[in-house]
């Protein structure tokens, strides 16, 4: 079953010097349970593509299908509900809510989904991430690695069908990054989720089932891409 189906996706963003074409006709199909690494040079549009797949950015043109839904035809609230029910997103800069504790951050998507046992599940999720005893800490009181593990716990807590990760180790040292990577792939395997991973790290991309290279705004998937990534 196709989880993502992108056809001729374009993205142009306004910049001071005029409009910049970020994506120029990306086409991509992703099957359920796959892990897909997205690589490419800085500014190639990797993160933008991930944002479009998460429904956080609207494509200028083209079709973006996810789990049989046309994301480009959905409104803001419908997209939010879709993410709530199907997606978990992890960012390079963690993006935790600074005024909420670690536990509250993890429980937030469960509460939004109306889960009665949100906090119990959040506690379990944090424990699984090795953060037992850090539940009541605010993001500012946690290290970068701990914050990213909280973000990972938050993304995985609702058991999403899709996990999207944007440079999840970009702000971390290699040892901490390795822990996060292990956790990320462990989660994907355990729950059978589809993982879309944007990364600069070739060895990380090589861990994925498929590697897509973004260059000149287009996606190329070839064995070379995988080899290049490796």
């Amino acid at each position: 079953m196709s989880v993502f189906s992108l056809k001729d996706v374009h993205l142009s963003l306004a910049a001071k010097a005029g409009r910049v074409d970020i994506l120029r006709g990306v086409a991509l199909e992703v099957e359920s349970g796959q892990s897909v690494g997205i690589v490419g040079p800085s500014g190639s549009g990797k993160s933008s593509l991930l944002m479009i797949m998460a429904g956080l950015e609207r494509a200028t043109s083209g079709q973006v299908g996810a789990l049989g839904h046309d994301l480009s035809a959905m409104g803001e609230d419908a997209l939010a509900r879709f993410r709530r029910d199907n997606m978990g997103v992890v960012f390079q800069s963690f993006h935790l809510i600074p005024t909420m504790t670690a536990l509250e951050n993890v429980a937030a998507p469960l509460e939004l989904a109306g889960a009665k046992d949100a906090f119990a599940r959040a506690v379990r999720e944090l424990t699984a991430m090795g953060l037992k005893g850090r539940e009541d800490h605010y993001p500012a009181q946690l290290s970068g690695g701990e914050q990213q593990r909280v973000a990972l716990a938050r993304a995985s807590a609702p058991r999403p069908k899709i996990l999207l990760a944007d440079e999840p180790t970009g702000n971390l040292d290699s040892a901490t990054g390795a822990v996060i990577v292990e956790a990320l792939f462990g989660l994907q395997k355990r729950h059978g989720a589809t993982l879309i991973l944007v990364t600069h790290a070739p060895e990380l991309a090589a861990m994925c089932d498929r590697v897509i290279r973004i260059e000149d705004g287009r996606a190329k998937e070839t064995p070379e891409a995988a080899r290049d990534a490796a």
């Binding site: 993160s47 933008s48 944002m51 998460a54 956080l56 950015e57 609207r58 803001e76 609230d77 997209l79 939010a80 509900r81 879709f82 993410r83 709530r84 029910d85 997103v89 960012f91 390079q92 800069s93 993006h95 935790l96 809510i97 600074p98 005024t99 909420m100 504790t101 509250e104 429980a107 937030a108 998507p109 509460e111 939004l112 989904a113 109306g114 889960a115 009665k116 949100a118 906090f119 009541d136 500012a140 938050r154």
Partner: protein, 853 residues
């Protein structure tokens, strides 16, 4: 770092423009503008009163008499010193005429002025149609002329040429009175003005012995006449003859005092606006410096000392303060100077609108001190920014507290003391200013405490059971509880603005309830004055014959001026008595006589005289005023009645409730003391509303000299006056609220980035926009409601002080206005919050998140 270098750095720093300082400038400019505007208008009115002092008074000097006209020897004494003398009589009466509207005989209460050929000595009487006053008043076809205020012409329904009766005399209405040069000095009158020649009133029965009227001699003096010497000479005589002196240096002392009081009050409200603005200034400086954390860290990395960096930003704040104050002065001085002349003609008092420096200096001093006072605290924190901030997560909040140097504390205290000293000096009412500043400081301190408490409780609640499963609620509570939530700034600014409004609302309600609710239950329908001795029995018969008349009370009535208290001349005694009792010595007071204590009178000290008492004069004095004048049983009071001094011994004190609107006299003498003195009677008549018209027809027809004062009309006049004061106060409160709202908007605008980010994360997690909006609204509403609740407490406390201690009335809490204040606070906060909610809700999450990368 040298000041010159700091200045160069400061100027470079400001190349980025003033966009971040809009709230700072607006807050400061609004506060300074309101103080400057009130001061400018007050100065314009004072200048107007001073410039037109002669016209307002109607002469260079005026000698007033009560109940009688000057005799020949007194006239001769005045003519000796004056180039020209004009005699005026002034009294209340009833104008009676056939209405062209109803076709029936209508009666209207009026304030009659009898003039001579010399009137007016200064200024001009304006008539419609235009004609000289002498021509309008001259006798024609056996009927003297009369001019009348348009309001009364309209009320009765008259046309020029119609016949109008005053007392028993008929006059012809010749013109409408459009301008009366000495109207301002006449003070508060219950009826519209009529002017006639005094000669024409002879035989009208209105100026007979014992009737109540005032007369005055206006003097035109030679250029350069020594007013002080003349005043001293006449005042010595005045103590003996009951004369009172006024001169053109202060032609309308009552009006001037009133303007000063109102202006002082409004300036103090302006200071509250500045205090609210100060909260905004503080927040704006804090936000600006937080944004500059990286620059400050770089400067430190490059070797700039903490003191030097403090200087750089102090210079910037100093320059912005100068700009804000200049804008405020431009607005505050410019608006009255430009718009004032357009309204000058419609003002009830003369005003000379121009640019006056004194009020501007006052406003500038307030502005500079307030801005620096509120900016100092956040400024002091720049020393604490460490170079390591460069390597920290930019999203991490800056430390809330820094260490304060002794110099900062000294500067803070010096600025605070400077502000207090300025307010005490400039206001001219140090006690009022001190109470007001204390109240503002107390309100700010309480609001700060409550906002901290609210933050604490919200932070705890956010982690409690209540918000479980309600992330929007938790987000709102967590935001209120967080350090970057802006709770304190919003609560302080909104709370102080609402406190002023709540205080005015409670005072207004209490004053209205005293007038409109308490009085009518007990007050009579009509007062009748000037009932002659020989008319009393017939009057009672006539009034009792009217169906619906429930109760009639009468008392003999005279007016007298207190000339000495226990042998000390009133002019000297005035300096030593309690301020609250001074009014008793200003002008004439009602005097009566009685063999028995008035019904319901409570004798608090001493004994009433026997009914057949025939000894030396005794007086029963009002207990409260007696205490304020320092009188004790056995002391003497000298009263000048109809030119004769009468000295009576205080036999007892009575408790008087003046609000009862019954017949009450400050002084009641024993009947023997007043034997033979010509006097009239006053009557109060309680009647059903339906009987009022019949009563006035019956009594008015039979006794044309008797003046009827409808209590409800009098109350309405007083109420209208109070409404004007309340309106002025509300304008002042409006300035505070607008400033508060600017601060709120500023806080909401400053938090927009944070909320956009929050909204983006919530959208990532699957929250709908309605849910996010609900969270924002909840947060704003809770802060607003908390500010409103504190405002009610402080506003009610302030109002209680005013009502109980100043108005000496029992205080009643007005729940309706209190609820409106809390709701208003919540709505204002909500509105300000939601004004800036659209952008976070509409923003693409990707853009918001990317901005944080």
């Amino acid at each position: 770092m040298s000041p010159a270098l700091a200045c160069r750095f400061a100027l470079r720093e400001m190349r980025g423009g003033l966009a971040g300082f809009r709230v700072f400038l607006l807050c400061l400019a609004l506060g300074v503008a309101s103080v400057a505007a009130v001061g400018s208008v007050r100065t314009a009115i004072e200048a107007g009163l001073s410039d037109q002092g002669r016209a307002i008074l109607g002469g260079d000097a005026e000698l007033m008499l009560t109940y009688r006209r000057a005799d020949e020897s007194e006239m001769a004494r005045v003519r000796d010193v004056a180039e020209r003398v004009s005699e005026i009589v002034d009294f209340r009466s009833m104008a009676v005429a056939t209405s062209r509207i109803s076709g029936e005989t209508e009666r209207g209460l009026t304030q009659v002025k009898g003039v001579d050929d010399a009137y007016p000595l200064y200024g001009e009487v304006g008539l419609e149609p235009e004609m000289p006053l002498a021509a309008a008043l001259v006798e024609r076809d056996g009927r003297p002329g009369l001019v009348m205020a348009q309001a009364l012409i309209d009320r009765i329904g008259l046309e020029i040429g119609d016949e109008v009766r005053l007392g028993t005399m008929d006059f012809e209405l010749r013109a409408a009175l459009a301008a009366e040069p000495d109207a301002v000095s006449a003070g508060f009158g219950l009826g519209p003005r009529i002017i006639v020649r005094t000669e024409a009133l002879e035989g009208s029965g209105l100026l007979g012995e014992g009737t109540f009227f005032e007369s005055s001699l206006r003097l035109k003096l030679a250029e350069g006449a020594d007013l002080d010497a003349l005043k001293a000479g006449f005042e010595q005589d005045a103590e003996a003859g009951g004369w009172r002196w006024r001169d053109s240096r202060n032609g309308a002392p009552g009006v001037q005092r009133f303007v000063e009081r109102i202006a002082t009050f409004l300036v103090l409200i302006g200071l509250a606006a500045l205090a609210v603005g100060g909260v905004g200034i503080s927040s704006a400086v804090r936000a600006y410096l937080t944004e500059k954390t990286e620059t400050i860290a770089i400067l430190k990395t490059l070797g700039a000392p903490g003191g030097g960096i403090f200087m750089i930003y102090l210079i910037q704040i100093g320059m912005l303060t100068a700009l804000g104050v200049a804008l405020g002065l431009l607005l505050g001085a410019g608006l009255p100077a430009v718009v004032g002349p357009l309204f000058a003609a419609s003002l009830p008092v003369p005003a000379l609108f121009a640019l006056y420096w004194a009020p501007l200096v006052e406003a500038a001093v307030y502005g500079v001190l307030t801005a620096l006072l509120f900016a100092l605290w956040p400024l002091a924190r720049v020393r604490e920014v460490r170079a390591a901030a460069l390597f920290r997560d930019a999203a991490a909040p800056a430390p809330e507290r820094g260490r304060f140097h002794a110099g900062d504390v000294i500067a803070f205290v010096a600025l605070l003391l400077g502000l207090i000293a300025a307010a005490l000096t400039f206001s001219g009412a140090p006690m009022l200013a001190a109470w007001f500043l204390g109240g503002v400081a107390g309100a700010l301190a309480t609001l700060w405490l409550v906002s901290r408490l609210l933050s604490f409780v919200a932070a705890r609640a956010a982690r409690g059971r209540l918000p479980r499963g309600r992330p929007a609620l938790r987000l709102a509570l967590a935001a209120i509880g967080g350090t970057g939530g802006g709770t304190t700034g919003a609560a302080l600014s909104l709370g102080l603005g609402l406190t002023v409004l709540a205080a005015i609302g409670q005072v207004d309600f209490n004053m209205r309830s005293v007038i409109s609710e308490q009085l009518p239950e007990r007050s009579p329908a009509y007062f009748f004055i000037d009932i002659q001795n020989d008319q009393l029995a017939a009057f009672l018969g006539e009034a009792r014959g009217v169906e619906g008349v429930e109760e009639i009370a009468t008392a003999p009535m005279l007016r007298g001026v207190i000339t000495a208290l226990d042998g000390v001349l009133a002019a000297q005694a005035r300096e030593t008595v309690e301020p609250g009792g001074r009014w008793v010595l200003n002008g004439d007071r009602g005097v009566s006589y009685a063999a028995r204590p008035p019904e319901g009178a409570a004798i608090t000290e001493g004994d009433w005289w026997p009914e057949d008492y025939a000894g030396p004069p005794l007086v029963s004095f009002s207990a409260e005023e007696g205490r304020e004048l320092g009188l004790e049983i056995g002391d003497t009071v000298s009263v000048n009645i109809l030119g004769r001094d009468l000295t009576a011994t205080v036999a007892n004190f009575r408790e008087i409730d003046w609000r009862g609107m019954g017949i009450n006299f400050l002084m009641i003498l024993d009947p023997g003391a007043m034997a033979g003195a010509p006097h009239t009677h006053i009557a109060t008549v309680h009647a059903a509303p339906a009987a009022e018209a019949a009563l006035i027809r019956a009594v008015g027809g039979a006794f044309p000299n008797v003046t009827a004062i409808r209590v409800r009309d009098a109350i309405e006049r007083v109420s209208a006056g109070l409404a004007d004061i309340a309106a002025a106060s509300r304008w002042g409160a409006g300035a505070v609220l607008i400033t508060g709202f600017v601060v709120l908007i500023g806080a909401a605008a400053a938090g927009r980035r944070a909320r956009t980010y929050e909204a983006a994360i919530l959208k990532v997690l699957g929250a709908s926009r309605a849910r996010i909006l609900g969270s924002f609204a909840l947060r704003a509403g809770l802060v607003g409601a908390a500010a409103g609740i504190v405002a009610i407490g402080f506003g009610a406390a302030a109002a209680w002080g005013v009502i109980v201690f100043v108005m000496e009335s029992p205080f009643r809490f007005d729940a309706a206005s209190a609820v409106a204040i809390v709701a208003g606070g919540a709505l204002a906060s909500l509105f300000a919050g939601l004004c800036f909610a659209w952008a976070p809700l509409a923003a693409r999450p990707a853009a918001a998140l990317r901005a944080r990368e």
